[in-house]
Symmetry: C2
Subunit: 152 residues, 2 copies
Amino acid sequence: MDNSKILIRVAEEKDCPAMMTLIQELAAYERAAHEVTVTFPHFVESGFGEHPVWWSLVAEVDGKIVGIALYYIRYSTWKGQRLYLEDIIVSEQWRRHGIGSMLMDEIIRIAREKKFSGIMWQVLDWNQSAIDFYAKYKVSFDPEWINCHMDL
Amino acid sequence: MDNSKILIRVAEEKDCPAMMTLIQELAAYERAAHEVTVTFPHFVESGFGEHPVWWSLVAEVDGKIVGIALYYIRYSTWKGQRLYLEDIIVSEQWRRHGIGSMLMDEIIRIAREKKFSGIMWQVLDWNQSAIDFYAKYKVSFDPEWINCHMDL
């Protein structure tokens, strides 16, 4: 298909339902659909309420949202403010069209523009296709850290 | 020593120099002193400027800052807003007085008060004393994720 039909733009509030659909699609791919417990109103409020804590790009084809790249600001006491790329998702039927790279390139541009010291994210150690995708960039991989969480 | 002499309180701007000293101490312990490239003005601005992106507790003994617990808001597309505990540090000569537990307990109280869905952090896989400390709480450990970063 013609890449000129793919539009990368900043997410708006009206995109939230389509974004949530993609988030649930990724969770199913990561074998964790049951882990998505966030509510839709909380998702919208967190992105477009009085004190936003997330921002996102969307990839649009013919008016349909087929990809997102959602981030928040991480504060590293070593490196200062960094862009934490929470999710980069392309709908399964729209892969292999370069949409992931277009989203990633725009994320890098935004991070530079906002003077973040870098970009961080995580990848599952068995998700080889994602690891291969990221390895095309100048990325450091660090498996030495263990994630810890306490649900409240 | 008498625990009643230990005061846990919210960090103020005047605490920043002592906090930065503790951050550098931890980096040295983690064999990464050279990795601390954040500037002091950026640190202060990020915590106490117009749009704060970090918040912190301090542990004080006789007017001296001997510990910190610094966090930011993570947005999980699965779990919503979570408290991301970036650093919990107790100065080496003040360990084994329960200060880490006092900081952790107050972090948990704040996370509940602010209605965060949980608390997240990371630990280095060789830092057994930290892993043992966290294991006293109802914590899930997940080594399946690889950290990725791109410095800009």
